[in-house]
Subunit: 348 residues, 3 copies
């Protein structure tokens, strides 16, 4: 679970021979009472000895994160809910609703005859309208399915109906219940916009299941231009290696934001350079912290530690060079590490 | 006017929360007799108090730029001419002719019956031939219109005639007088080549009106290969975030050059990294200084200051590391800051 | 031969006004008994005085390379064979077989009537099977021909036969004997996979003959996904400016590796930044040293010196920052500079 690879590396190499592996040994070992840089075997033994609950309490607690906005829509494994996850750190858990999952559940309702195929779109809209008070955003994983070259304007009811019929027929013909039509992905994003919920979009970096070329955020330019007048916040997640492109979009569209998510963990100490590059163009009010942590408590602590260190290095370099003041740096750190998220997700 | 965004950012954020905002407070405040890092309100008050003529005299004067090559073809606002602009700094003003504007003026002549549609191409050629002695280059903004995937070989007269008729018919049908046909953009660039004027091409970074993916300079590869034998200089402007790609083109094509224009201002202190990346592959005789300054005097001072500091940091790092000598560094600085432009634009 | 340009730069500039030119003066002059940073004239005089055999003995000897894996398939010039090349450094020479050359030789056999067109594919397979013991890998230059958007799955015999007939007919119609069909490039790569030889693929940076946009390694994603289950090693060569994309592929596919080849030499001191960026995501067991040196002995010494310095700088920065230990750094250096190549190419 430590990297985006889906099988082990070649013989003679280990998962720990990577930036994230070195970062784990440096930053997570002390949280388990081991010296920094402990070797993998020692780390894994101590981890097993403490047990997963204690390990997660320590790692999440040491992350210093107090509010967790969590997408629990990944399938097929059932995931810890946001509230239980946050409890490891004594924090608050809030929900991010995965749009494709809402649609896929509605597809099951069509297949089991509970609703007609013509009502799938309305069912999706209704479920987003019925959301719980803990829902703070929606999320699209179109990058993994159809890619980001989505129709720019909101699809018409007729287009949505036709794409829905095609999709349901595919499933009836034996295909997996996996939404992958550009019109439907665009429809879902527009549903989020209409519900006036911040829309998170997976961009760039991910696992081997992805076609990274189709995850370039510039492919979203037309759609972002169409959404801009609604002023609903859009959040481009991860973005690597297209983080400069994402930062450009965050500069020119008032409602677009970005984070580096997954890329911070995986690039380890290299994340210092990524943060500096994202902040070449991204306004400081548009750049957010995130970990994209999943499955391993280590990813929360690494995401938080590496991000803080990278942002601190960026800000300290500018102070040393008299490019900005310590007061400017403190204000930027507050925006990026907390206030931007409070504003975008309307956290009180 | 300070960034490429076309509307204000979210509530609670300001335009000054960005690299360019911090750079302005650092470097422009002293030119208005204020301490470095003055807050935005103080800066704006002092700026209003001095009045725009005095502000521009100070900011352009402090930039140290002596020769201004200016594209005054941006529409619809009338712009200060090159000569008047240069006068603020006691310098010399020279003209860069925007190719699309020449064609759009000829289109007006067609529409008002002054010339026949079949004569638009010849009229464009004639106007380029009649240029004033102060004209040093032409410029294409195809990146904003059709994108840079332009026909590589010079369009035939028949192709130009057909594209012209289509365009004029569109305008007669109610479209804006805005050239946007790849054949006509390519034709215009070839007109510049035939007139043996250096051809500037907007590449990469710009405002929200742009589709940045279509501004990748690698899309120009075929056209550059076709132009290469003419030995007419081509200048790729701005280029971010495709500056490495542009530098590659400047290495492999003897007549291709690049600058970072707009990206220097907007990335503030981050521009140090951009300059170093452009100079990974770009020969030192192919990299030029520019500001792309427009509307605000601050952009001239920032462009010049940040570029000098970034280039100086790049050169000093190499001296410290014994990678090159101080004499090498001085020679490179002269090429990049002055001699390359003198050679390309034939400035005496 | 020092850069990827195919003609001299503009008047008043020299080839030495570049990162690689400065690096040559810094690092190669001492190997010819000259002071570091000697001027180009002095260097060229001394080089002529020593003669090419002595120059190559010194430059290759000083590189510290002991095993040379060499693609000698570049045409039309006859190249020094791997064994003779290695002898300059007292090292061992091993062969990398250029796949397109094997196919082009088989095409000549078809044209001269030695084999039927229907037997070209089998002839290619047979020649790969008959390879000498010194053959350690195959190499594809599809990037220069059809680009990297190759068919993902292995072409069927019928598809290969049809593409072969078309190609042979083109040659009979007067075209050069130059394989350039995506189906045939994919077929050749699959031949390498079936022969269980490591497959090198030229990616990204090269000379003006290349369409760099078609050299993006992400275009290979589907093909790499199809090859992954075979566990045959794939090596992405050069990769610049797509080295982050290549490193991503090396992270997510267990059999994919990368080097920076040509880009190390050409970016001179700038190569420090490239190495750090490649190692953001690439597992340390997947990143290899190479020089891509060709024609000039200088390129061997520069490739080796710049790579060692860049990797050392990367590793030392992490030690200084307590991100990893000196023992970790030593282990990573051994993997990258020797053990990864030993494992991939099965060198004893």
């Amino acid at each position: 679970m430590l990297t985006e690879a889906d099988r082990p590396g070649p013989p003679g190499t280990t998962l720990f021979d990577s930036q994230i592996g070195l970062a784990l040994r440096r930053w997570c070992a002390p949280a388990l009472d081991l010296p920094p840089h402990s070797d993998p075997e020692t780390y894994l033994e101590r981890r097993a000895e403490l047990g997963h609950a204690e390990v997660h309490r320590r790692l999440l607690g040491a992350s210093g994160i107090s509010t967790f906005c969590v997408d629990t829509g990944f399938q097929p494994e059932p995931l810890t809910c946001a509230e239980d996850l946050a409890a490891f750190a004594g924090g608050r858990g809030l929900d991010v609703v995965r749009l494709e999952r809402i649609a896929e559940r509605a597809a099951v309702d069509v297949l089991t005859g509970q609703i007609g195929v013509a009502h799938l779109a309305d069912t999706v809209r209704a479920r987003l309208a019925e959301r719980t008070p803990s829902t703070v955003a929606v999320k699209s994983v179109a990058a993994y399915r159809a890619g980001l070259a989505l129709p720019a304007r909101r699809p018409t009811d007729r287009e949505v109906a036709a794409a829905t019929r095609t999709w349901i027929n595919e499933i009836r013909g034996g295909a997996a219940i996996r939404l992958h039509d550009p019109v439907l992905h665009s429809f879902l994003i527009w549903c989020g916009v209409e519900a006036r919920l911040p829309v998170q979009i997976h961009v760039g970096y991910g696992d081997a299941d992805l076609d990274l070329a189709r995850g370039n955020p510039l492919l979203l330019t037309g759609l972002l231009r169409a959404i801009a007048p609604t002023e609903v916040a859009v959040l481009l997640l991860h973005c690597y290696p297209f983080h400069r492109e994402a930062a450009y979009l965050a500069q020119v569209f008032a409602n677009v934001h970005l984070d580096l998510g997954l890329a911070i963990n995986n690039t380890g100490r290299g994340s210092i350079g990524l943060i500096a590059q994202a902040l070449e163009l991204a306004p400081f009010g548009k750049f957010l912290f995130s970990t994209d942590a999943y499955a391993l408590g280590e990813l929360f602590l690494l995401g938080a530690t590496l991000f803080r260190r990278g942002l601190a290095a960026f800000l300290a370099d500018g102070i040393d060079d008299d490019a900005w003041t310590a007061a400017d740096a403190a204000r930027i750190a507050r925006l990026v590490c907390a206030d931007n998220a409070r504003r975008v997700y309307d956290l009180r």
